[in-house]
């Protein structure tokens, strides 16, 4: 690799504040409150989502502990329901989305040779809304009437019977939506206007491409969700009847509006993961990404198709045959561009000089286990089969396979991959591999049995179940606790790496290409204040 001879050594000063830089950050806590630096804000997003990951994970463990045995043992059903609801909201809006935004903040300017994000003050605001929104959201758990317990999909009329938490949850969702839309506008402006001179769209790293498309999805769908929850709010407090049949409304309409947002949302949760994996696999296979152009077009096709498949979440609400067929076929069609991606990753690895450092292990784990989740999704797309699977644990198994060993694994891969660039120190490779293997064993012990109990008919969102599901639920709970506690290793490895360790070179990985690897490790507080030259060695395709 020609880029290997760029060997900036990490500065001796391994102070976390990078105080050696003349334009360094202000000291003290106010640095984090007032910062407009893309790296600081990226760091804030990433720590925030790590904290939320443990909050959401603790909720999942409450759910799994209750489901360890049939019967009601630990929590009362109302609290159980608020755990399933809050677990979903926290994991989606508090973990996966902020973590991807954090990575975008850190990496996109460095990948396209820009000095910062386009709108740095807006960026600060986008982040600092989130802790407040989640404080409001989580505070509902301590209210007398309990937290939201109608499911994260907020279906009326059930959601309208929620206690005092209702208004708080809607308010928090509005805040989170504003944060996401502002963050997305920032990302689009950065990618459009701040690429280093000479970097064309078709030379951008895949992570930048997938985020550009994700940002469009966010800008197009979050406002629809905001509209839907506003309708719920006015139905509850201002006498409108959007979803109230007594006043001429229709609760099923909420599901249409919700899933018009909700389906693109699931691609918001996975497209940046595709970008991460497309960055990591070429590095450790020591080959350029196979089929870069087709990757870009596949990402765009997935984004387009995501707008015309929403009703596959609602096959059991009843719809005309033509509607069922349309949504069934359009859903199945999504597997074509997704398949293109999976085959491109496999082709990238084919005959590569592969090594299996922790980021690569997580990336390969992603490809294999995301495909498992994708295939069960294809089964769910079949309308007559879905009527059997609907609202069973099979659905839970499906979306957890695409989100946990999918989106979450991509985030872990990204963390291990870029952590040396962020901190200037190598993480502990041995512990990283242990973290991968323990997580991978337990995540399958946790989620694979859910396929079986789901096909056998166990319904979701219910704290008690029939005796015949007992064995697999016990195994899943063991997997859940194993997976949950093994994530403490992840925190330990990150903290250890932040505090010190073997110094990382600028390039970190032998096969790494791209502009982010041309700056020192740790990345100086300000990078690319003068736009870099775009050369073949720094273009990732």
């Amino acid at each position: 690799m020609s880029s290997n001879d760029v060997t900036h050594h990490a500065a001796d000063d391994h102070d976390h504040d990078h105080g050696h830089d003349e334009h360094g950050p202000a000291p003290g806590l106010m640095r984090w409150v007032t910062t407009t630096n893309h790296k600081d804000i990226g760091t804030l997003y990433l720590w925030f989502s790590l904290v939320m990951f443990f909050i959401g994970g603790a909720m999942a463990l409450v759910i799994r502990a209750e489901l360890f045995q049939p019967g009601i043992q630990i929590v009362d059903p109302m609290f159980f329901n608020s755990m399933t609801t809050m677990h979903a909201i926290v994991m989606i809006f508090g973990v996966v989305m902020p973590a991807f935004v954090g990575l975008a903040n850190w990496m996109i300017p460095m990948m396209i040779g820009a000095p910062d994000m386009a709108l740095p003050r807006l960026n600060n605001w986008s982040f600092w809304i989130m802790p407040f929104a989640f404080t409001i959201m989580l505070s509902t758990l301590f209210m007398d009437s309990g937290g939201p317990a109608g499911g994260w999909t907020l279906y009326p009329p059930l959601v309208l019977q929620m206690g005092d938490s209702f208004a708080y949850v809607i308010f928090a969702i509005h805040f989170l939506g504003i944060s996401s839309v502002m963050g997305s506008i920032n990302i689009v402006a950065t990618i459009f206007n701040m690429r280093a001179p000479g970097m064309t769209f078709m030379q951008m790293p895949m992570f930048v491409w997938t985020w550009l498309i994700t940002a469009y999805l966010l800008i197009a769908t979050i406002p629809v969700f905001a509209g839907a929850v506003t309708m719920l709010l006015t139905d509850r407090f201002f006498g409108t009847s959007f979803f109230n049949a007594a006043g001429g409304g229709d609760p099923v309409m909420f599901q249409h509006i919700f899933w018009f947002f909700g389906h693109p949302e699931v691609y918001i949760l996975i497209l940046p993961a595709f970008g991460i994996v497309s960055s990591i696999i070429p590095t450790f296979a020591r080959k350029p990404l196979f089929g870069y152009d087709s990757m870009v077009y596949a990402t765009a096709s997935i984004a387009f198709l995501s707008f015309i498949v929403w009703a596959h979440h609602m096959f059991t609400t009843g719809m005309p045959l033509a509607g069922s067929l349309f949504f069934m076929f359009s859903t199945m069609m999504i597997s074509v561009p997704t398949g293109v991606k999976v085959f491109n990753w496999v082709a990238t690895m084919w005959r590569g000089s592969m090594t299996f450092e922790t980021p690569m292990l997580f990336a390969i784990g992603f490809v294999i286990m995301f495909t498992v989740g994708g295939l069960s999704g294809l089964m769910l797309a079949i309308t007559p089969a879905d009527i059997q699977y609907h609202d069973t644990y099979f659905v839970v198994a499906h979306f957890h396979y695409v989100l946990v060993p999918g989106a979450i694994y991509s985030l872990m891969a990204a963390t291990y991959y870029w952590l040396p660039k962020w901190t200037g120190n190598m993480y502990d490779e041995t512990l990283g591999k242990w973290h991968f293997w323990i997580s991978t064993v337990f995540v399958n012990v946790l989620f694979f049995p859910m396929h079986f109990v789901g096909l056998a008919g166990m319904p979701r969102r219910i704290p008690d179940y029939s005796l015949q599901f007992a064995d697999w639920n016990m195994i899943a709970t063991i997997g859940a606790f194993g997976f949950g506690f093994s994530q403490l290793m992840f925190v330990y490895i990150i903290v250890k790496c932040v505090r010190g360790g073997e110094k990382a070179t600028a390039n970190v990985w032998e096969g790494a290409r791209g502009l982010e690897w041309t700056v020192a490790s740790p990345a100086p507080y300000h990078t690319f204040e003068t736009a870099p030259a775009i050369e073949s060695s720094t273009v990732t395709r």
Binding site: M1, S2, G113, A114, P115, D116, A118, L119, V181, S184, I185, V188, A189, N193, M194, A196, P197, T200, Q203, I219, A220, T221, I222, P223, V224, F225, G227, A228, M231, G239, T240, S241, N244, A245, A246, G247, G248, D250, M253, H256, I257, F260, K287, P288, G318, M319, P320, G323, F528, E529, T530, A531, P532, A533, I534, E535, S536, S537, V539, R541
Partner: protein, 205 residues
């Protein structure tokens, strides 16, 4: 370089003059343009969310989705040709939303009808409480594909029904099943759900 060479090598090795100016300086008008477009998109999509409400009703009207039934005038059905040999069983069911002190039931549970002919029946409702209450019934037809062939010329569901305390009434329906009803359907269920109007005295939206 890698053994696998890039096809587009020639495109990307072009020498680009390096700008001395920081890229961010001259781009604030470009940023404003992007912000404007993206804000317009997000506000437009917020509006689209609301536009789905009337769109949904229109689509349900056209397709009969959700079992929403049509209303026709008496004149338009008078000239319809009638197939006297065909018999359809119509079942009447009722339910009361969220309980409440009500009696609400069909006067007859089933009728055998001929498509194209006009029929009358009624539902009985009684307010068991002492209070004045306004109620409304919403109809639904099952199977959904039959909904658009189930036409009512008169129905208590078209209007809000006021009840003084401890009063009862018979509420009529006049309906006609279109003779274009698909031949595979021989049984149609008409279901009414009885709601307390959300705003007593205010016209529901």
């Amino acid at each position: 370089m890698n053994q696998v060479d890039l096809q587009t090598e020639s495109d990307i090795t072009v020498d680009v003059p390096i700008s001395e100016e920081p890229a961010v300086k001259n781009s604030s008008s470009l940023h404003l343009k992007v912000i404007g477009k993206m804000l317009a998109l997000s506000i437009g999509m917020f509006g689209f969310g609301y536009a789905m409400v009337p769109l949904y009703d229109i689509i349900c009207d056209i397709t009969g989705l959700n079992g929403k039934t049509g209303r026709v005038s008496i004149e338009s059905v008078a000239t319809s040709p009638i197939d006297l040999n065909r018999e359809i069983t119509v079942e009447f069911v009722s339910s009361i939303n969220q309980g409440g002190a009500w009696v609400f039931k069909p006067q007859v549970k089933t009728m055998t009808v001929t498509p194209g002919k006009l029929y009358h029946t009624s539902y009985y409702a009684e307010n068991l409480s002492d209070n004045y209450v306004v109620a409304q019934a919403t109809p639904s037809v099952s199977p959904f594909t039959a909904a658009k062939y189930f036409n009512k010329t008169e129905c208590f569901c078209f209007t809000r029904q006021p009840f003084e305390g401890k009063t009862s009434k018979d509420m009529p329906i006049t309906f006609i099943i279109d003779e274009d009803l698909p031949v595979n359907i021989d049984r149609v269920t008409l279901s009414y759900t009885f709601f307390r109007s959300p705003d007593q005295g205010v016209e529901p939206s």
